[in-house]
């Protein structure tokens, strides 16, 4: 059972690893969030568009559509481009972090992470998300060569 129901924010977790998805759901629900899950990039884009979550946690190393490509498509779609995206990945090189930000992510969290760290960033994401509901400058059309995981 959710620990509390004060927080009705909905978070979409896009991650190809099942155990990671399941634990993310349990942890975030324990902190009062509603959690939506997607097992790959295509599914993530569909759920995002259909459910309009308040925040997206996005893995990068995924088969077929990798996280950077998903991020670019999210930011290219007027319906969902304002949803704050936090990249959560095993990739943590400066180059990867720079790519995340250039494509419009609000944070880049490297796995493994402590949940407290992620929760703080989620909180900040909501604040930012409500502040500029209009649109982040998605100047990502030229695109980053989507680095395969």
């Amino acid at each position: 059972m959710p620990q509390e129901t004060l927080n009705q924010h909905r978070i979409l977790v896009i991650d190809d690893e099942e155990s990671s998805r399941k634990l993310a759901r349990r942890l975030l629900e324990r902190h009062g969030y509603q959690v939506l899950l997607a097992a790959n990039g295509e599914e993530g884009l569909i759920v995002a568009k259909a459910e309009q979550p308040d925040c997206i946690l996005l893995d990068i190393i995924m088969p077929k559509l990798n996280g950077f490509e998903v991020l670019r498509r999210l930011k290219a779609d007027p319906d969902i481009k304002t949803i704050p995206v936090i990249v959560v990945s095993a990739k943590g090189a400066e180059r990867d972090i720079a790519t995340s930000f250039r494509l419009g992510a609000i944070f880049h969290v490297e796995k493994p992470y402590e949940i407290q760290d992620l929760l703080q960033k989620i909180t900040v994401a909501f604040v930012r998300g409500t502040q500029n509901d209009s649109a982040p400058p998605a100047g990502s059309e030229e695109g980053e060569p989507s680095a395969p995981g």
Binding site: E17, S19, S20, L23, A24, R26, L27, R30, I61, A90, K91, G92, A93, E110, K111, P112, Y113, E114, I115, Q116, G149
Partner: protein
């Protein structure tokens, strides 16, 4: 015996004499034959220097008729030369013998027809009887022997020259071989590193994902209301292990990532200072004296400040860890003209420095436990560590060297067990 008539006696004596004479002649004839049979020319002269007797080889040597030789002056018959110049009659060996020198031996040249030959001439005084003194001269043609000797000398000289050349060439080859071996070693090392890097970065990414799951799991369990103190401790131990595994994975990725440098003109002293401060804050340093010998004026270097900081942090941490019961950390920094060729200093394309170039040298030296010689060569190898299990990933110096290499610099390590370790970094100066 009965008395014989005088005539008879005379006739008898005459017969005896002629028999004796015949015997003597026969003996003399044999002697002459014997003397002529030997190869050496033999001649004897009277006190007046004229030829009294000679053998066949002598006749052949001087190339004259029998009558021309007998009673001729030997010195005229046998004009000798030395070093291409005619010998003065006074110092002719025959003249020396005639003047009383009991023995004289010498080597001379002699013109026989149109050829120059070499003679060994031996002249000896002989007393045939109370009244009769004579000089016997033995002459041997040693042209062949001399030539053989000269040939041998030339051969020996040529052989020794060849040997010297071969030795020199061997030394050059050996040097070239050593250089090649070093270069090959470096190439193999570079290739090995690249392969390990690729493999390792793949593994590291794969490892970080499950580490993420474990960390999420720990975080989840930490939320449990009924977690006992013991369980909390176990969880925190697991968390520490995850962090350590993550550190290894990050280190692997750090060193396997092609280092792209952001070069800026920097004052190295500030980078050193910052690195030292950072390490001192992080490590509880006990009884360690820090001595800084930074030259007052240092040339500017083009470096990636963050990466170079990483280098010095690694070295300073290593130094501190090598001195668990205290000691002295020396940090030196000075410009140095490179005078000698050595590893990395030379005119080959693989060399980073040219002799006579001035470089910036940074040394980090401790008075710690040191590294055994057999391990020293391996300290830059990935995953090689001299630290206790859990304290080092074996990647610190690997990364350090990769960064220094990327700056086209050199890194060298010297160590003595029980005395300490010194790491020297040589960096190019901004032009």
């Amino acid at each position: 015996m009965g008395a014989l008539p005088v005539e008879d006696r005379a006739s008898h004596m005459s017969d005896a004499l002629s028999t004796q004479e015949g015997e003597l002649r026969a003996k003399l004839g044999k002697l002459e034959m014997a003397l002529s049979a030997i190869v050496d020319a033999i001649v004897w002269v009277r006190e007046d220097g004229k030829v009294q007797w000679f053998n066949a080889p002598f006749r052949r040597l001087v190339g004259r008729q029998h009558e021309e030789i007998l009673e001729a002056e030997l010195i005229d018959l046998l004009p000798l030369e030395q070093d291409g110049r005619r010998l003065h009659p006074n110092v002719h060996p025959v003249a020396l013998a005639l003047n009383g020198k009991p023995n004289s031996v010498g080597i001379y040249e002699f013109r026989k027809g149109d050829q120059q030959i070499v003679l060994e001439v031996l002249a000896a005084r002989v007393r045939f009887s109370k009244q009769e003194m004579s000089t016997v001269v033995a002459i041997r043609d040693i042209t062949e022997r001399k030539r053989a000797e000269e040939r041998q000398q030339r051969l020996a000289a040529a052989a020794s020259a060849a040997a010297a050349a071969a030795k020199k060439r061997a030394a050059e080859l050996d040097k070239a071989y050593q250089e090649l071996k070093t270069t090959q070693g470096m190439l193999i090392q570079a290739e090995k590193m690249a392969a390990i890097g690729q493999l390792a970065s793949g593994i590291a990414h794969e490892v970080k994902n499950p580490l993420g799951v474990i960390m999420q799991g720990i975080n989840y369990l930490e939320l449990g209301v009924e977690t006992s103190e013991e369980q909390t401790e176990v969880l925190s131990l697991i968390k520490e292990a995850v962090k350590r595994a993550d550190k290894i994975a990050r280190d692997v990725l750090n060193f396997s990532r092609p280092a792209s440098l952001e070069l800026k003109a920097c004052a190295i002293s500030q980078v050193l200072e910052d690195s030292l401060t950072l390490v001192q804050k992080q490590l509880a340093v006990k009884n360690i004296e820090v001595a800084k010998e930074i030259a007052p004026v240092l040339p500017v270097v083009m470096i990636d400040e963050n990466q170079m900081k990483q280098v010095f942090i690694n070295l300073i941490v290593n130094a501190f860890q090598a001195m668990p019961s205290g000691g002295r950390l020396s940090i030196r920094c000075y410009p140095k003209p490179l005078t000698e060729r050595s590893h990395g200093i030379g005119r080959r394309v693989t060399d980073f420095f040219q002799p006579r170039e001035t470089a910036l040298v940074c040394e980090v030296e401790d008075t710690g436990i040191g590294i055994p010689q057999e391990k020293l060569a391996r300290v830059f190898d990935p995953f090689f560590t001299t630290k206790p299990p859990g304290e080092g990933t074996g990647l610190g110096l690997t990364i350090t060297r990769a960064i220094v290499d990327a700056h086209r610099g050199l890194i060298a390590i010297e160590s003595e067990e029980g005395k300490g370790t010194r790491v020297t970094i040589t960096l190019p100066i901004a032009k």
